[in-house]
Symmetry: C2
Subunit: 482 residues, 2 copies
């Protein structure tokens, strides 16, 4: 570029003895316009080449990965799908992961006669929030980040993440964490089995000789309930505990020769109602699963303040696949047993998940959760209103009744916005409600899955917008055929 250095251009012009008025007009235009172009380039396109403070510098080792991530994300899937960085490739090209009932290379084709998936509890409704807040919620992880098993304090838990979680609960006002120990696990699921395992061990008795197999703690939950605690308890087939089902048989019984662990999810799954334990007393320990006790799902009337509280990232931010949850535990001995369980079961929760959770929760907290919870609640509220409107015309189906609740976070009484619709087939002859809906192209989860009657079916309201829109259309069609 020697000819283009400043002194050489000046010399060239002088040597050419060009009388400047004779330069064509276009040259003047080019010369004159290049100054503002310089200005534009320098100011607006190079913010990270201008060393403003210590925070901006030229990208090196992370650039390629950042470009790849953005290139993949920019592939259009018609708004009905997305390309994942670790998704499937065909002939070297990443393919769109379409929302259910959409197909084609770019997910633009609505598949006819496709049953809408309202069966799973996949929490995808917050995607628009995360796309809007892309910059702050991106995580860049170096290859050498966090080698080894432990953090700086030799624990399996990120202290910074623990601080952010405490702050989140303080801001939202949904949990009193003072004086409680915090534990991390691979989702509420793992923390639940850690809790059951830990609460069921008698403090002074550890039996490994098979002799006490009939003196087991009874694990109970009142229907309808999500059966993971039942599945775990049965699978472990432990000498320490046993699944006993519904607690109502022991209600109001003062006989404390048997020990109980009651699992209470509040708001509940599938109904979305705030729930209290059935059993009380010295021989009863209660595990509270507060997966849904967030402003998107319910009014926050007061901070939860029980001895064992479990929360999960899955239902808070939608990142169900990260496998990250946390628990607050009051009793030190229980905390230590749970910590031991989590170490022996899986050496704690993934540090990659912990880093991701940290970045996501910092994003939520950037305006004290206003935008995040506002978006979440608004989305789910609208969905319930629409579903209610659809079913209000029906004499065949009914939806669970939920009350508004005072919400200290939104500073007002908030209308219901549950994660699920709990639909009942009211006609005598409709004994299998899931089958009735399936014949109309709606896949829901049958009532018996929740230890309830099959006249009930659970419909997912926290899926993506396509899933809900399709669910509503099918519901409207079904109702219109009555």
């Amino acid at each position: 570029m020697q000819i283009c250095s400043i002194p050489s251009i000046a010399k060239l012009l002088i040597s050419m003895k060009i009388h400047v008025p004779e330069l064509p007009m276009i040259m003047w235009v080019v010369l004159i316009s290049s100054i503002p172009l310089n200005n534009l380039l320098i100011k607006n396109i190079h913010p990270y080449y201008i060393n403003i403070g210590r925070d901006q510098h030229k990208l090196s080792w992370s650039r390629g990965a950042a470009e790849e991530a953005e290139a993949v994300a920019s592939i259009s899937c018609s708004g009905h799908g997305r390309v994942a960085l670790d998704g499937m490739f065909i002939e070297g090209k990443p393919i769109c992961q379409c929302n259910s009932c959409y197909g084609g290379d770019d997910c633009s084709i609505l598949l006819p006669d496709c049953a809408v998936d309202a069966h799973s509890g996949n929490p995808r409704f917050l995607e628009p929030y995360w796309r809007k807040n892309a910059a702050s919620s991106t995580v860049v992880v170096a290859g050498w980040h966090r080698l080894g098993y432990t953090y700086e304090d030799d624990s399996y838990m990120s202290r910074e993440l623990g601080n952010v979680i405490q702050k989140l609960h303080a801001v939202v006002g949904n949990a009193n964490t003072t004086g409680k120990y915090i534990l991390f696990g691979a989702g509420a699921t793992q923390l639940l089995n850690a809790a059951i395992m830990s609460l069921s061990q008698p403090p002074s008795q550890h039996s490994n000789d098979g002799g006490n197999c009939l003196l087991r703690t009874n694990v109970v939950a009142s229907a309808p309930f999500y059966p993971v605690c039942k599945m775990q308890t049965e699978m472990y087939n432990s000498l320490n505990f046993k699944w006993r089902g519904d607690p109502s048989s022991w209600k109001n019984k003062s006989d404390s020769s048997e020990n109980f662990i009651e699992v209470v999810t509040s708001p509940s799954n599938p109904e979305g109602k705030l729930k209290d334990p059935v059993l009380k007393g010295a021989s009863v320990k209660t595990i509270y699963d507060y997966a849904y006790y967030w402003p998107h799902y319910t009014g926050i009337s007061s901070p939860a303040n029980t001895d064992l509280m479990i929360f999960t990232l899955s239902k808070l931010t939608g990142h169900g696949g990260s496998r990250f949850g946390w628990a607050f535990v009051k009793d030190k001995a229980v905390y230590e047993r749970m910590a031991h369980y989590l170490e022996v079961n899986s050496v704690g929760a993934s540090q990659d998940a912990q880093l991701r959770a940290l970045v996501l929760l910092r994003t939520v907290l950037k305006d004290d959760g206003r935008e995040f919870f506002g978006f979440g609640h608004k989305t789910l509220r609208e969905r319930l209103v629409k579903l209610n409107r659809s079913l209000s015309k029906s004499k065949r189906f009914s939806l669970q009744k939920l009350s508004p609740h005072n919400c200290s976070f939104f500073n007002q009484v908030t209308d219901p916005s549950p994660a699920y619709g709990w639909v009942k087939c009211v006609r005598e002859e409709d004994r299998d409600c899931a089958a009735v809906l399936k014949s109309a192209g709606i896949l829901g989860k049958k009532g018996s899955y929740f230890s309830a009657d099959d006249k009930y079916v659970r419909l997912n309201l926290i899926g993506n917008q396509d899933d809900f829109d399709l669910l509503l259309r099918r519901m409207d069609t079904l109702v219109s055929q009555e």
Copy 2:
């Protein structure tokens, strides 16, 4: 910037009727030099703004996170530490996480009288490789990446990662995966308890009534062994299995009324020797933990080809905190029970860990593992040679003897390069070898932890270079005092 658009500048000049020769010389210089400046700006500083094919484009939402990651990584910790993106901050400034026995703000101070940590199994020796291969091993994750619980095929496992793992084993030649099912878990730790739980369930008998508490599968492992299988078995206190310790009592017994699960780690922890099961027969199921069956730790004589093989990312790449491992299972019923366990225990392995594993393993495979395994083996070989040299002068300590092995990966006989030194105090009076080393400022793991005599102690050889250098110095000092 309206005044700076090309047509408006031209009009402005014309309206001002400026006779161009009267413009000062400095203006000519500025005008003329701005063209090459634009050229320079566009071409050399914006490589990713010029759309060269589909791979390069302007960075937007990922830029801030990439800058932050690089800024944090660029903070100097004197080569004796690092700053983690999710590490601790003081007054808004990230602080260096120093290697053990180093301190000060920038980890430049070697702390006097500090005991070197050779106690843990923290695998940090591969950090130089990951730093060198920073670009290909960086992961950039968008906030909306993988919401929900499942992948495209409704499973909890990344198919792309499964393919890369299969390729890795084919390239390294350390496992025959043909005809086997693959499972992912939160590390080998979780897969181990999934395997024990699944192998111990009689196919046609599921007891939940407490009546069969004495007919439990015996879980055994031959000493010395890493006791996680013992800890898990005892903690679960299951009706299905029971910890029985060393298998040698049942060796060569043809009585098959009892069922056994033998856990075999090969190469073994702590000795680093290739190990065979003690028990054989129809009533015996064997779980093989191949955590160390990689070219950095041992010659790969042939592909492992057993019915249940467990591998882990922790000891392969050093990313112990990710919590990711995989298993190959031959029997379909066992595979299905393990899959059920993994779902009920934690809903599979973290998808964040799976994405990270995918990127890391692709980096390893970019030259068919030559650089990666070459570096790993060379590092550990040199460490063993130095430790051997140090202890060869000693009459007080001895090191485990290991043989060279033929290695199909390196196409030669490779010298031993184990993960741990298994040191023995040979003097009669040195009954607690860990205490002897501790008095010399070396923390090792005592033999009884591995169900061996306390005349043995395990020393970590897979820590970072500072840890090993300090270990060696302390050992040299101790030996010189004999």
